[in-house]
């Protein structure tokens, strides 16, 4: 199973939720569970998700992938999975300011390779190696 590396950027204040770091390079398996499960770091199959960030405390619920090889329901890596991964592994505080239900909270715009994610299928967009995905909070100041 191959690995996909994606550049993730945060702006408009969202970087404060992610260790005040704006740019992250994240490696994820090209095939991921359909049920939103985030593979634990010590799992061997699928390969461990990696990032250039130091290990962080795990904030979200982590379940083992208990499906056997023939049963595991997988899908290609998509933005939906990435969001859950970011919330579970990278976010350091106040998850409610990043996600609400199964999507980003109101006021956040997601950009896929400099295009509004709505034009790219939103969460269902399948991530390719080298994609650049930006999560930006709308600003109100002047």
């Amino acid at each position: 199973m191959s690995t996909i590396t994606v550049k993730v950027e945060f702006g408009g204040g969202l970087e404060l939720l992610f260790g005040n770091k704006r740019v992250h390079s994240i490696s994820l398996p090209s095939s991921v569970p359909t049920d939103g499960t985030i593979a634990p770091s010590n799992s061997e199959t699928p390969p461990p998700a990696k990032s250039d960030d130091p290990p962080l405390p795990i904030n979200g619920p982590i379940r083992d992938l208990t499906n056997g090889p023939g049963e595991a329901k997988t899908k290609p890596l998509d933005v939906q999975y990435l969001m859950h991964y970011l919330r579970t592994r990278l976010l350091t505080e106040r998850p409610e300011l990043f996600m609400e239900g199964d999507t980003v909270r109101p006021g956040i715009l997601v950009l896929i390779n400099d295009t509004d994610w709505e034009l790219e299928g939103e969460g269902a967009y399948e991530i390719s190696d080298g994609d650049d995905i930006v999560f930006i909070s709308t600003l109100h100041g002047g």
Binding site: L97, R105, P106, L139
Partner: protein, 290 residues
């Protein structure tokens, strides 16, 4: 100095000298200058974004400029609100800004308004202008301006800036351009929407976004704009500093600009409650019953 209207549409013969540097540009010309002179623009907010935008709109020769701001000049504004000065501290921002741009260009008709924009006066204050600039600093006014621009069928050149970052949208552009609600149907929780006072702002960031607002407005008026609704993201400390984002089209399901558009959305929205009670405090001013 000025000797009355010229035959070809410019107001004054001296305008050939004043605007000559832009009138010789390909795609601008006398025609572009006459379009600017016959146009009207309203700038809502004479603060960090409004000041630089006003400066270049007046210098370029926009015929009539409205300035809406109910605040007064404070010392803490002078770090970025470059039309105001130590001498105008305590004056109404709308008047301080109006006087400053009149010193540059006395031919421009300037209409300062010191009322606070609110759902009851927005239509009447904005309807006589061709282009609306959102240079405000809070979410409720941004939704109100978007809904009003949709109702009036006018483009809304919207800037925002906080800390080291800036954003520029043109809402309600042409037939397909989205409105603010198309992109952000639900307002953010109020605790995420900081003001410049709370989060800080590097002054020149508002300068860059305000300049871009003036530029986009001049392009819209003179026909230089390509008609595409894009988002410009700016970070003073990012690399690259600028990125241009392709935006979604107008949404048929949008309650403000879509096909089933609510015809009384302005009258029926409680903008304060809608935005979780964030500023401005229309309640205190007795304008709304929350």
């Amino acid at each position: 100095m000025d000797t009355g209207p010229t035959k070809d549409g410019l107001l004054h013969t001296s305008d050939y000298l004043r605007y000559g540097r832009q009138m010789i540009l390909d795609g601008f010309g006398l025609e572009g200058q006459v379009k600017l002179q016959r146009s009207s623009v309203v700038v809502v907010g004479a603060g960090g974004l409004g000041c630089p935008a006003l400066q270049y709109l007046a210098a370029a020769g926009v015929g009539r400029i409205g300035i809406i701001d109910h605040d007064k000049v404070e010392l803490s504004n002078l770090q970025r609100q470059i039309l105001h000065s130590e001498q105008t501290i305590g004056q109404q921002k709308a008047r301080s800004a109006a006087e400053a741009i009149q010193r540059t260009n006395s031919n421009v008709q300037v209409n300062p308004v010191t009322e606070m924009l609110n759902p009851l006066n927005a239509i009447s204050l904005l309807q006589s202008y061709d282009v609306i600039l959102d240079c405000t600093d809070n979410a409720p006014t941004r939704y109100l301006l978007s809904d009003t621009a949709v109702r009036l069928g006018k483009p809304l050149v919207s800037g925002a800036a906080q800390k080291y970052e800036g954003q520029l949208y043109i809402y309600n552009l042409g037939k397909d351009g989205p409105c603010y609600r198309c992109i952000f149907p639900k307002p953010p929780a109020s605790q995420t929407a900081g003001t410049c006072e709370e989060t800080g702002i590097l002054g020149v960031v508002t300068g860059i976004i305000g300049n871009m607002q003036a530029l986009e407005t001049i392009k819209l008026i003179t026909g230089l704009h390509d008609g595409n609704a894009t988002l410009l993201l700016f970070s003073a400390i990012g690399s690259p500093a600028f990125r241009t984002i392709k935006l979604r089209a107008r949404k048929p399901t949008c309650p403000a600009c879509g096909q089933g558009e609510m015809s009384h959305i302005i009258e029926e929205t409680d903008y304060i409650t809608f935005c979780g009670g964030a500023r401005p405090n229309w309640l205190e001013q007795g304008l709304m019953t929350g």
